[in-house]
Symmetry: C2
Subunit: 353 residues, 2 copies
């Protein structure tokens, strides 16, 4: 990222047409470059706190006197930088006031459906067990726990796991950190201020808000979810998935596992588009998941659900964004499917249980 | 693309969970795969017609008995496939009824502004000269010519140039061809029908509609526009650009050239976001334009315009899509800047002319 600031400064100064611009331009441009540098430093301070907490809370702590050796930044790959940027944007989505509208569109919609189909009995808080695969930085699982459900979050990405661990367990107060989540993108910008603007995280402080909860049943499991839960069946009252089917190499395997993990009469509540991550042919030679990837339309998935004993009881389209910079000239707009399905008592498809 | 159909068929059949699905599923799934194959054949027939016309209309025709040797499809790169897909989507945008809404948002907006600032005198049709750099498949330039302006379209991409040549000069009637522009994308699909649906092109037939135009002044220049027009100055009454600043490695060079090419009092009308194509750091090692790329916010560009003697007289935000599948679960949504600027008679910035 520092390299990007240097590149911006150099390129603008080496353009003959650029050098002819007046003072007003250069003042604004230098303010932008200084602001980018400040934002990078701000983000780094937060990431250092996340990694520091991970070290201190790890079951495998560093030995006395042992120190983490920082990697050589010049060898950071583009893919790693992109993961860091996604991690910061996800902080915005999950844990800032700026992400509230995005959370309402997706988390809000599935939680309302969960409460409608499986209301909590206030005398038996934590009695119903909910699984959230693809739990990301933890906001959806946190909201479900806060409403009186037991909840197991599951996540694969180490980046997401470290941040969720930090925010769910390590932060001391609301709005403790300031981040610049948009500073990495120099395109599609109306104003310098839009790009440099900061957000505060977290907008709620889970270690404080959950401290008084009696019988809290909240776990977070790391790993690939099909492997984590392969030995379980009929274990959950509800499975809630948001922007998750997208991560399936073979979406039929996901639906079969959801059907197996639900108790009879249990509900699957899903929201998302069908943006299959492993369908990208540039992965042909580097990832075996491309060679297995199956991409089905919603029309086909509906039939798959029925075959696996999941009766769809509600289905509607819902617009949403994901990690979007709402002030940018360019956003990805999703029209996802919000659906809920109930696991049939007696699956009638041939040979399925 | 054929390979993709085979991959889809193989992957679905090799999944253990997939094999357990019933007849209803397989019937729909096979209908999808057959429809994909039909769509691929349909698109190929159109592309063959485009290439055939290019051969027959080329100033360098094939010698008698010489035949075009098709390349080996297995060696087609992902980048080439992506360009073909973009070319077909652009046919939808520029030359189909389905693209009408997209054209209204961008072409419609800039044309209305052109007619407001530089109305055509019906007694002097073709008198005002308009330049359209980044003219793509030619619809915007065609619309400008049809309204009584002289127009020079300029385009760099050989794919776009071949299709614009074909549609502006080679088609015989409205709706002559049927295309399947969405068949390449198996993600984010509600129904099989959405993915397989066809469009008809062209919705107007330029060789027929322009046949009766007296004094038609319509040219199409191929090549990189800064190089094509480097020796000209004060040559145009208007320059109209849509989704074009995005293609600039150094946007200041583009604005300086626009200012130079306009007559005094001439107008620049622009619509688009600021999606700088050469800012992608994955180009670091393969394209020198990344090493020169300058990405400015609109706030900075405004000052650049003033320095180069372009007085912005109108500026507003306008939502638009580009080559979007309106039935997909995922679309890129732009909020572009619609702006017009007038070239000052006496530029007052230091040393600029």
């Amino acid at each position: 990222m520092r390299e990007e600031v240097d590149r911006a400064r150099t390129n603008m100064r080496s353009s003959a047409e650029g050098r002819q611009l007046g003072e007003e331009f250069w003042e604004l441009h230098e303010r932008k470059l200084r602001g980018m540098q400040d934002g990078i430093d701000r983000n780094q301070a937060f990431l250092n706190a996340v990694v520091g907490f991970q070290d201190s809370s790890s079951p495998f702590p560093l030995a006395d006197g042992e120190k983490r050796v920082p990697g050589d930044p010049s060898r950071t790959t583009k893919a790693q930088v992109s993961k860091i940027n996604t991690t910061l944007r996800q902080c915005m989505r999950d844990w800032s006031g700026e992400g509230e509208e995005e959370r309402r569109e997706s988390y809000g919609a599935v939680i309302a459906e969960l409460e409608r189909l499986r209301p909590v009995d206030p005398r038996r808080r934590g009695a119903q067990k909910v699984l959230v695969p693809g739990a990301g930085e933890g906001r959806l699982a946190y909201e479900i726990v806060s409403r009186g459900y037991g909840c197991a979050g599951n996540e694969f990405s180490y980046f997401m796991l470290m941040v969720s661990n930090f925010i769910l367990n390590g932060v001391g107060e609301e709005n403790e950190f300031t981040l610049s989540p948009f500073v990495d993108n120099t395109c599609n910008t109306f104003s310098v201020e839009d790009m440099l603007r900061t957000i505060r995280v977290p907008d709620v402080c889970p270690p404080l808000t959950l401290a008084g909860e009696a019988d809290l049943d909240f776990s977070y499991v790391s790993g690939e979810w099909l492997a984590c839960y392969e030995d379980q069946a009929s274990a959950f009252d509800a499975i809630v998935t948001v922007f998750f089917l997208d991560t399936a190499p073979v979406v039929v395997e996901y639906i079969a596992a959801i059907a197996r993990l639900l108790k009879e009469g249990g509900v699957w509540i899903n929201f998302g588009p069908l943006l299959y991550h492993w369908s990208d042919s540039s992965l042909r030679k580097t990832d075996e998941r491309f060679q297995r990837s199956v991409e089905l339309s919603w029309e086909e998935i509906r039939i798959v659900c029925a075959c696996y004993g999941l009766d769809i009881v509600r289905e509607e389209r819902q617009d949403a964004t994901y990690n979007a910079d709402q002030r940018s000239m360019m956003r990805t707009a999703y029209t996802g499917i919000l659906c809920s399905a109930v696991k049939r008592s007696k699956p009638d498809a041939k040979g399925l249980s």
